[in-house]
């Protein structure tokens, strides 16, 4: 990645090419990960609703995956799931 010179930065420290958040891979922060049991999932989408980083991938109204580039391992999805379809597990190296 090529860095910009201080001379090329916008004055006032603003960011023009918004949104820039997709470039920030928050998944790097994770020390634990949610483990998904699809057979217990009732697809009420509470995990999708509560996920602070839009890491729950939903297709046609059904939870299909977790986007681990953005899942920061907060565990909120596990807490809100009433069906024990999710479990926090140590991140495997």
């Amino acid at each position: 990645m090529k860095f910009k010179s201080w001379r090329d930065l916008p004055e006032g420290a603003i960011i023009k090419d918004v949104p820039t958040s997709p470039a920030f891979k928050t998944g790097e922060w994770r020390i634990k990960r949610p483990f998904f049991y699809p057979e217990r999932c009732k697809h009420d989408l509470l995990c999708w609703l509560y996920c602070p980083d839009s890491a729950v991938v939903v297709k046609n109204g059904r939870v299909v995956d977790f986007d681990m580039e953005y899942c920061k391992g907060c565990g909120i999805c596990v807490k809100v799931c009433p069906h024990e379809a999710l479990e926090m597990k140590e991140e495997e190296v």
């Binding site: 201080w6 001379r7 930065l9 004055e11 603003i14 960011i15 820039t20």
Partner: protein, 396 residues
């Protein structure tokens, strides 16, 4: 353009500031009252109530909120002003840095007042000296007339440089002291200040931006360097705007420094704000006696015009520096410390004596000024500076 025929009004510093604000007619004013600057916004709020200005006036619950509102409004592209003093300025402290680094040209009037404790409402420069590294332009005025004209010029300075600017005057001495002010016509002021051209606007929804993002070790350093570049540009903008103002309106307000008999001066006194007036009187007396003494009044403290100060003082034998604030560094006041650094590259070391005076409104009299002159004359004769900074006018 021929100088306008001006009306002369008898105004206090606060009244002059409020009058200038009325003629500038800012889009937003957010403020919280504090002695000795309360009147500025109090008078201005009457202009708002009477429909004499188009300003959205926001009476907030604290100075921290005042500066926060100013920042939000300025980021939206508005022309913004406020006023404060002392503890109020101290409460704004964290927001001052944000205004400067977001490059928002907010114009603030400050009535210089001491900081607690003990609680004191009178003049010294500890308040604005406490925010000297916040990235704001700082302009210290000597008298009421200068406050009025400097404020009108400062709007242009701030908005051209895209930097916030504080214009200060000594609390009570100038804020409540009545003097003649040569005022301009409303239309002349409007023509001079023009329209603000913001760097960016929160309200420009076609071009969305992020303001105040998180920037860590990858670019924070570069943003600070970029901010410095803005301040370096301001150093070029200040004299251009002041010159244009003086030419257009037939005024003679100084930009960075004012010189008073400095050309052949062997002894040079460096002072700021209203104390300069007292020194001018002392210098008149000494010049009568044939003493080669002069005054260099520093008007702009930020950015610090070290090149000008160095050039103007290089032929002096003795320099006396007047600080109306303590640093508690145990090596004198802020002005003397920076001045010594400015003179460091000179091959010849000039004798320099620092004085602390007038803290918490201790009156600085003509006798005090003459006492300073006598000490400096003795230093010139002995070719030796006192080891310690001198507290002038203190009860020993």
């Amino acid at each position: 353009m021929k100088p306008a025929t001006k009306e002369t009004l008898a105004l206090t510093g606060n009244e002059a500031a409020a009058y200038a604000m009325k003629q500038i007619n800012p889009d937003v004013v957010a403020a919280y009252p504090i002695t000795p600057a309360t009147e500025i916004v109090q008078i201005f709020s009457k202009y708002v109530a009477d429909g004499e200005v188009d300003t959205e006036f926001v009476p907030v619950e604290s100075e921290h909120s005042a500066m926060s509102v100013c920042i939000g409004a300025s980021a939206a592209g508005a022309r913004v002003m406020t006023a404060t003093a002392s503890q109020g300025l101290a409460l704004m402290h964290e927001m001052l840095y944000i205004a400067a680094s977001l490059r928002l040209p907010i114009l603030m009037v400050v009535g210089n007042r001491a900081l607690s404790a003990p609680i004191n409402i009178h003049c010294d420069h500890s308040d604005t000296m406490g925010s000297r590294d916040s990235g704001w332009i700082q302009i210290y005025c000597e008298n009421t007339n200068e406050v009025y004209h400097t404020l009108i010029a400062a709007i242009r300075i701030a908005e051209t440089a895209n930097l916030p600017c504080m214009v200060t005057m000594d609390g009570f001495i100038v804020t409540h002291g009545m003097e003649n002010v040569r005022v301009l016509e409303d239309a002349e002021v409007q023509e001079f200040v023009g329209k603000r051209k913001p760097l960016y606007s929160l309200l420009d929804t076609d071009n969305p931006i992020t303001i105040g993002p998180l920037v860590l070790y990858d670019y924070y350093f570069e943003y600070k360097r970029s901010q410095l570049e803005g301040v370096l540009k301001a150093k070029k903008i200040i004299p251009l705007v002041i010159d244009e103002y003086n030419k257009r309106f037939g005024e003679n307000i100084p930009s960075f420094v004012e010189e008073y008999y400095t050309e052949d001066a062997e002894i040079v006194i460096v002072a700021m704000s209203s104390a300069a007036g007292t020194f001018k009187e002392a210098i008149d007396i000494e010049r009568e006696k044939g003493e080669k003494i002069g005054l260099l009044r520093l008007k702009v403290f930020r950015p610090f015009p070290y090149e000008i100060l160095r050039e103007k003082m290089k032929n002096a034998q003795v320099i006396g520096v007047m600080d109306r604030a303590e640093t508690f560094s145990t090596m004198g006041g802020p002005l003397s410390i920076e001045l010594k650094a400015a003179l460091y590259p000179l091959e010849k070391r000039i004798l320099l004596q620092d004085f602390i005076f007038g803290l918490g409104g201790r009156e600085f009299t003509l006798e005090n000024a003459l006492e300073v002159v006598d000490i400096l004359k003795k230093i010139k004769k002995d070719k030796k500076v006192s080891e310690e900074f001198i507290y002038i006018g203190i009860k020993e």
